[in-house]
Point group: D3
């Protein structure tokens, strides 16, 4: 008899997804003291998984968390999880892995609470990509309107966003602000405390001006794996991609703009603060980048997302990358 | 038949402590998007529980999380949890409650993962106080040496510490820094970005100069319930307690200093940056405050902590309020 | 024969309002280099006119503009303008004076452009109060929802808002941001760069907590004449009004809130960032303050504004104190 | 019959210059809420007029002001104004256009004040260049001494100087400070709040070191059209011009320095904070740049300014680009 | 035979003043790593000497310099030095002591350079007060004009001015700036980086408004012993003296202003940034404070300084408290 | 008869080293108002002496100190001092010159204190290099562990570190902090106030990543002569050296790291904040740079330092570049 529930790797075991729960005494819940990665596959093959795991280990080193396994072992676990779960995935769906590593239950609780030991917690989950992206297909038509919230990005010298960590309450505060605006396609785009564009709450931002692609300096942002990939895609289509401090003025003055994120790859940004960018439509260079990406991975990324849309019936509040559910 | 494991209130049910685990798809784990309280009892009676719950609800309001119960209901749950668990507590131990409320599983996962619904997660746990304080009895002899780490407190306009939230990775980074210093009694004391004393990583700071008690302005700190209580204790012993911006210079120049925290109430700070404060010993006014507190609650707080120490054999790394376990 | 158009004092003459225009070569237009005051009457008698003029002269001193007349002379001019125009005002209307003093035409143009001399420009206009307040009567029912825009108040050490000057483009930028929000009663409330509440774009902000009235320290704000008056009103009704750094957290935690402005005096603020303040309705103490004010000046301020409303038919975009007309 | 007074384009009409006045109810005067450009001709031909107009429209877009005409129409108006006024200009003089666009009379006044409608105000004036530059010829001999005032440039995230706007009271405050210094050739050079050189109060700044030209990054400055032109001039004479954060130390260490501004094009800066730059005289590369410029436009720029000087008798306070007239 | 040269206490010995020289290998010269005090007598009796010495020892503690003597011993040395030198002082002159304590010769040099040991350097010098104050008598007539230089006070969290240390190059940079201004009575008054008034380069600043005396909060300033004394003087004449953040606007708006410094006690400030404070003359309350001070110490302080002036013929550049000699 | 004590050039004379002492009335001691250079020889030949002197004169110009001699004259003095002292140096030792120039005795003391004139003080000392480096040989084995102290680098706009000045108390405060850490090889590495790596307390910092060498932008650091030399060394071994803002994250992520300083040239940094950099050992590229340097100057730099070690018996506290001697 086949499995009827996806499994999750959890500290050496494969457990049912509904049992993939972390103790309330874990440092992850006490301090947001957890490093993580979220990936996706193309045609069931994980993309840039080594880069994800490499970034994860950098964060762990800085936080002095030793996961008791090495990069290669973690990679194998990821592949194993996907392999076990594949029978439960639709044929045309993709695997979205979530890797979590925390410092584990705090020392004072380990050994005292039944079953808890003070060792790092390592989790690898695997769920359908379409959950995340199904609400986004419409943005290929409307484009996104990026809006600057009052909330500023926390500067890296206070808490480094380059460590992909879980102390992100401020992302939710930015999301809440933007939810009050007129319109359906508003996404927050945070300024840092110097007034430069930093990032969205889960995506990286790019502008194009005179056929050159610009993206913020890699300081007060997560250095996304998709962000990194744009540099090589740009080269493939014969353009330069340059890291630069970007001000709101530069966005108003851009020809095109887009965001990148692991699940959707690229989405066009057609307005900024409710004012059109360039012609106000899905830009030609943005399209070329996504097309090239699709070619490289053998998946028509935009089409795949749109088709997910056809067969599903999810709530509309799945329209921001990491939406919140607020109760007034 | 008696219970053999403590229970935890978890979304309407009482579950075993070892089952008190939060889904990896919960906003608490995704974003550190959880508000919490930790309390203690004196002689088995919860202290300032209403104040704790009131503070919790302020945080929930700001984060737009609706816990689907009101303050009174939560209070009742707290009392119920303690009542159920009491038979499993030592006679001379106290109840430490931990109340957690998160936004719950993210909207895109609710309904898709077995058993998950996109409703707020509400947890009330109850564990022995002695776990937390047993390593601290020695500090009544040595006092604490407060040291300023390089890590600065995140200012409230970026992420408000007055919301008692779980996005505290930066606390752990401060703890790691201090763990590298010579000596056994070093606790981090964070400066804010203006160079004023803010707070420890889980405690509030006070100095005494010329018989006046001073504590930092309630801006870039958690406004601790114990901190609040010092104002009335001070009045009871005939002294003033004043909120003021405090600079390192003022600490060097103080007559006495102490920290407050829920589990230990008051601990003396006898040196700052490895330089003696006042006479370098447990100060007389500090003692008077703790004595008064003990009288008010009918428990000799210092003695209780020291006696916990005699009957237990816990690891020494329980010497900081929220210690970390680092692996090099 | 009666006048059919209001007059404006303009550099020593009384000219028709439609001729009250300032040369494009004036420093006022070149640099926003103009100091101003806007007043109102109660029962046709100017309120706090001396205070307005005193504040004006402070600004002129700092900017080294010599208006070639003294405070007394300016006062007389104000009274004269009102006297001339009174026949053109409705019986139940009030006089809103606008006093402008600029450095005058720049030195390089004076003497070259026909009719221009490089002397300060002094203007006193007088128009019906109802123009400004007619759209505001509804806020006594709904209250205002104060929202923090991304735009921060310019700190006083860069350009001092205490000089009531005309370099206020940033007010308009805040107004534009807020105009994108859902709802009809959103007003911007600016944070300063330290994250404290500063002011609205043309009004001062107050909260009430436990029967004490608080308002931001008089640093990064215009020190409004109405703001000053609240201190004495508070005393009259037996309350204290205290200047304090106010954070967003304090506003969420307040019992009541209100704004003050010259034309409307007091308007209730019933929510902050779309979350209710206190009971979410027009607060009792706020009402008492406005009632006392009405008594003191012999005008039922709220009623007067509501009655203006009945007999007029102005466009709804008169709903913010200094609304903008934007074209998308 | 010949005109005896220059005309100004004013909202669709050509009016006499002395009638080119803006209503006191205009947003330009209320908020400094006006975008502008100032140009000059060479041999009666406007220079870089398209660039000026392009910059103007960027500012209008950000401020959400719709001038009700497009770039081409505005260009035609500019040419028309110059054509009408030319008969009133000296043969050897040049046309200095001033284009102003404001949001227009505030909504609450439009329709109420006689003749006012709430539509944007568009003005194109045209006056002799010599007014502005006649006092500057001496600086080709003495050079300018740039001095850092206490006043800092307002950073772009608070009010963007790249929008050429009229909220510039702080320029006047810097001008006033510098007027107190010993000497006749002191010009303010503002630092931004990071301590980098920003700009003068109406001019851009350059240094030359080892045959490379440097100018501040285009962040906290107006991106001057003359500044832009230096990049191509530099290329023409075989040098590189690079945008870089410039500190005071770099200016002390420079070989040459100069400022650019629309009316005078280039003026040599021979000292900084009263200490010589390089040899303390009009630098060779600076001269070459101005020479090249003169060649390109067919006007000996320096000579023209000096000859203006001979035939005029203007007051000496025309010695700063935007001088103020202060009364003590 | 009488001494013909003043002596200086130097590491346990009394040496001739001309031999009071510190090794170039001393930490004082290497790092500005020296704490100091400068005092004065009234009628040959040292004023507030204990307070001076107490402040010195606070600084030494923070810098971890152990002078190998205690406060009482240092006091005795001071008295001894004055006693020895008294015969060389004019009858009507006063003793100005300078106490210097440095970390001493750096460890790597001690023992290697002949005569050097790596022990702290302790120096007490004693010279005529009139040297310092003789150029200041004129300021009782003209008053001082305080001017804000571009140089900002270094905030205490970067280098604490409350430690009276010798790393003061930035004082000299402020002095140099102010020396370029028109006029003979300009003294620098530094803003801190928040834009508040901090202090002069060797004096504390006060304003008076509505019979209340205000002085900056004791944060980014040296907490002068004379500053402290004003609080008790104020009480003696029935006024309040309050510590407050003071902005330039408050100074423009003040009734009176003055500075305090050890040698001259009080000097009136009659203008600020070249604009009159109050009536622009030596204020009545300022006078009362100095009069009270004179009574308390039995010396007519103003008269004494003026009489010094009559019998001396010192260079005029002694007109700032710590003047510099610059060579252009 | 041979000299038995080294001489020092002191204001035109050669005096014995033990007499090279600076008056307590000198501006150097009063304000840390002194500019300096420290050099070294290779095989008795001074290295980059012109660059050192050039940097010295830049600082003097900014501080408006005129040393009354030119760069060539100072160079000759340096050579003369070395020539006189050479007989007293070991054959295998090197000459470390220290050049000090201060503003000299303050104006009010000059002429009054016996032998003092208010002219700049110019000193050139010459002492054995081995004093400084003898304690460092061990670091070629262990490498240095760079640690970020709480003390931040003072930003250049408050006091410019590019002027090699003596107001460096804050260096000592950083040194004191680091002295409290576990371990023998901890050196402070300061962040600037933007959170970027600045410099050590007397050395410049470099990282290597993917065969490219990076060093902080030359803003909040001393631009070391050895730092400059790395750029040409890098070129000689075929690598690029790039100035860039470096964050702690970049250091954790580096392959190698090293510091440069005049006496030791290059020392390997093998860990950062107690976490290994790269392989945690003396990096290959770092070695190549030092090897190339050794070739260029004809001295095996590492070997020379290690051999100094063999023949000396100095105290271990000579282990930081500018160690302090603290007394607790």
């Amino acid at each position: 008899m086949g499995k009827t529930e996806r499994v999750v790797y959890f500290n050496g075991k494969f457990v049912n997804e509904s049992d993939a729960r972390i103790s309330i005494y874990d440092s992850a819940l006490m301090f947001g003291d957890m490093v993580f990665e979220m990936t996706r596959s193309f045609n069931k093959k994980q993309f840039k998984l080594e880069e994800h795991i490499d970034r994860l280990f950098k964060g762990l080193k800085i936080l002095e968390i030793n996961p008791n396994l090495d990069e290669k072992e973690l990679l194998n676990i990821c592949e194993k999880v996907q392999e076990i779960n594949e029978p439960l995935f639709d044929e045309n769906d993709e695997h979205r892995l979530m890797i979590n590593v925390s410092r584990g239950p705090l020392g004072i609780y380990g050994g005292l609470v039944s079953g808890l030991i003070s060792e790092p917690t390592v989790v690898v989950a695997d769920f359908p990509l379409k959950w995340t992206v199904v609400g986004m297909s419409k943005f290929y038509k409307t484009g996104i309107n990026c809006v600057i919230p009052s909330q500023r990005a926390i500067p890296s010298y206070l808490m480094d966003p380059k460590i992909k960590n879980r102390s992100r309450m401020w992302y939710q505060m930015a999301n809440i602000e933007i939810s009050k605006l007129n319109g359906e396609n508003n996404w927050p785009l945070l300024l840092d405390t110097d007034g430069y564009i930093a990032e969205g709450t889960g995506n990286n931002f790019f502008i194009i001006k005179n056929d050159v692609i610009f993206t913020p300096e890699p300081r007060n942002i997560l250095r996304g794996t998709r962000r990194d990939y744009i540099f090589s895609l740009a080269e493939e289509i014969g353009l330069k991609c340059i890291e630069k401090n970007i001000e709101p003025y530069d966005v108003y003055d851009a020809d095109e703009a887009f965001v990148t994120g692991t699940p959707f790859c690229i989405l066009p940004v057609t307005s900024f603060q409710f004012k059109s960018i360039g012609k106000g439509s899905y830009g030609e260079i943005t399209k070329s980048l996504l097309l090239k990406w699709s070619e490289n991975v053998g998946v028509d990324i935009e089409k795949q997302i749109k088709e997910f849309n056809l067969e599903h019936n999810l709530s509309l509040n799945a329209s921001t990358p990491y939406q919140h559910k607020s109760h007034k």
